[in-house]
């Protein structure tokens, strides 16, 4: 029973982690983190401005479904 509880807790933890990752990807937070890593920058207004410029046209070209 105790073991079952541990498995359940681990699964819930994993699900929570996946949900957070999913939201970060959908809301472009992961893309920003990747941008910072790629450019060797830390977060700042200037870095975000550069990210927005880089991402802007690609985002605008992405169709939203009906």
């Amino acid at each position: 029973m105790k073991q079952w509880g541990q498995v359940l807790r681990a699964r819930l933890g994993q699900s929570r982690q996946i949900l957070v990752l999913m939201l970060q990807e959908i809301f472009d937070e992961s893309a920003y983190t990747r941008f910072l890593t790629r450019q060797g920058l830390t977060t700042s207004r200037e870095a975000y401005d550069r990210f927005v410029r880089e991402q802007g046209e690609a985002k605008a070209r992405r169709p939203k479904c009906c």
Binding site: S30, K59, C65, C66
Partner: protein, 680 residues
Amino acid sequence: MPSIMRIFGWLAVSAAGLLAVLTIALHRGEQINAMWLVVAAVCVYAIGYRFYSGFISAKVLALDAHRATPAERLENGRDFVPTNKWVVFGHHFAAIAGPGPLVGPVLAAQFGYLPGTLWILAGAVLGGCVQDFVILLFSVRRDGKSLTEMARAEIGKLGGFVAYVAVISIIIILLGVAALIVVNALKASPWGTFTIAMTIPIALLMGLYLRRLRPGKVLETSVLGFVMVLLAIWGGQWVSQSHLAGYFTLGASTLAVLIILYGFAASAVPVWLLLAPRDYLSTFVKLGTIALLAVGIVALRPTLHMPALTRFIDGSGPVFAGSIFPFAFITIACGAISGFHSLISSGTTPKLIRREPETRMVGYGAMLCESMVAIMATIACCVLQPGIYFAINSPAGIVGVAPVQAAQTISGWGFPITAGEMNSLAQAVGEQTLLNRTGGAPAFAVGMAHIFANSLGGQALMAIWYHFAIMFEALFILTVLDAGTRVGRFMLQDALGHVWEPLGRTSWYPSILATSSLIVGAWGYFLWQGVKDPLGGINSLWPLFGIANQLLAIVAFCVATTIIVKMRKASYGLVTLLPLAWLVAVTFTAAWHKIFDSNPRIGFLAHAQQLANAAVLAPGTSRLIFNDRLDAVVTAALILMVAMVLVESLLEWGRVLSGRKLPVVKEASFVATRFATEER
């Protein structure tokens, strides 16, 4: 699990699914619980995913776990990023789920809950999911190429050109009809108009907050935006009862002009200022509301008051004219088969897929989820008394504008309703009237408010829930409007750049203004046409959108079948050929009816002729006649182009199958994935 247990498990799922489908299909004359639809959907989806998509993965596509995807081979941390399959799944679902699966099923409910439900289940499992899955996989094997590029490479130049024209046509028609839905939801509604108007400054504030105060904190900004939207809904109630109400009580024409101006402005201002924050806010609200609706349905387990089949299966429906075949199948596109999804499946998603077998869960699985959203929309509108449903969704041209007259007409159809009941309902949701609110959004909002109010908060919150639902749909649609106008503008600029290079520069303001004007002018024209249409606009524009969307699905299935034939898997070609044949039958028949049917409520030309035959032409009639003829020409042009792609595909299959042409698949070369070794 031991295999015998697994077999019994699947037998139990099949038995439950069969029982639920039979209950839905065979019950007549008594109301059924909405949970039957939920159980039928869950079981059918589970069986479809486990067995049909498994068969496609193994036999038709032969998914290769050892083959590196473009996300791995071309990884650049920007477009190509190997991503966890659940994350890609969520990302893909958020991109494909728009207002379509909420609106189409509501409109098709005029036939009763049965036709729409069966089409959503069968269409998704055998068609829509297959399309999304195979196009995603084929794009993955071609370095993330778009549908247009694949059509050009596999079918020919014409295929590519038609895909391009179909996409831009769909965008224009979609935006026109989507804007019309917003207009119909907000006309004479100060509360709704105020709330939606507030989303513009809220999005601007979010954009500034994100850029200046908390760079990169999108989730935090979205939560703040959501709180502000909730305050706007709450404030809307106060505004609607104050002296400010007059400023926000607008007619359809005024709202149409404002939305056209908004669309133009939104496509010209920087992405970060309006488009991106509105997109984040809309996605946040969308995911939350869909989850909330699912919880509400399961918690309330409501009874469906709409019968399985209504008298309008004969084609005389007030919401839109036309019989079940073909019109139910073009009215519900998203949720069953939506050609537009092929653009997403060959857009961002293939560049994120980490392992080839994951295309099954992302492509097939995410579409199943969207189909479930369509089932929830069916439930939301079918929990309403049919009389209320028809009072909201019937245009003034059919039931009149006076409540007593409308109630008499609708009661005469066998769906009893009184003017008093409609007035009480309007008061309960904080509106002046709910009559003639065509377009599907208000009916869905009333149904959703009913479910929420009965399971999460009580009747006192009915008006708040109604306006929350209206805000949710309008926000959704305006985001599609922003994004669609901009995508259309870029597509136009890409094409015009071949004619004169400066026009192709996406940052050159004269080009931005010219192309934005063209795109906004095009969808604005359809919107204006809908607003001025005495039959409410939806009757002519939604079928046009459905036809265009399904025609794009035909192009996608032509591409998929061509590739399957070239893979020397023609014996499995029925997997894509069957939905293709069905869509050809549906769209071509629907187009024929829309152009040539002698019933003026269905045929564009017959309607134009009826107007022209009047002894004295009323002011504006020549414009209506022109619009009918324009719609007929647009429909004919789309059908003709897709017919050419179909013929080109058939010829290509013939050449390959007869051995006159060597089947060459234009895939990227095989490279072994490093992820397979890492997992060992």
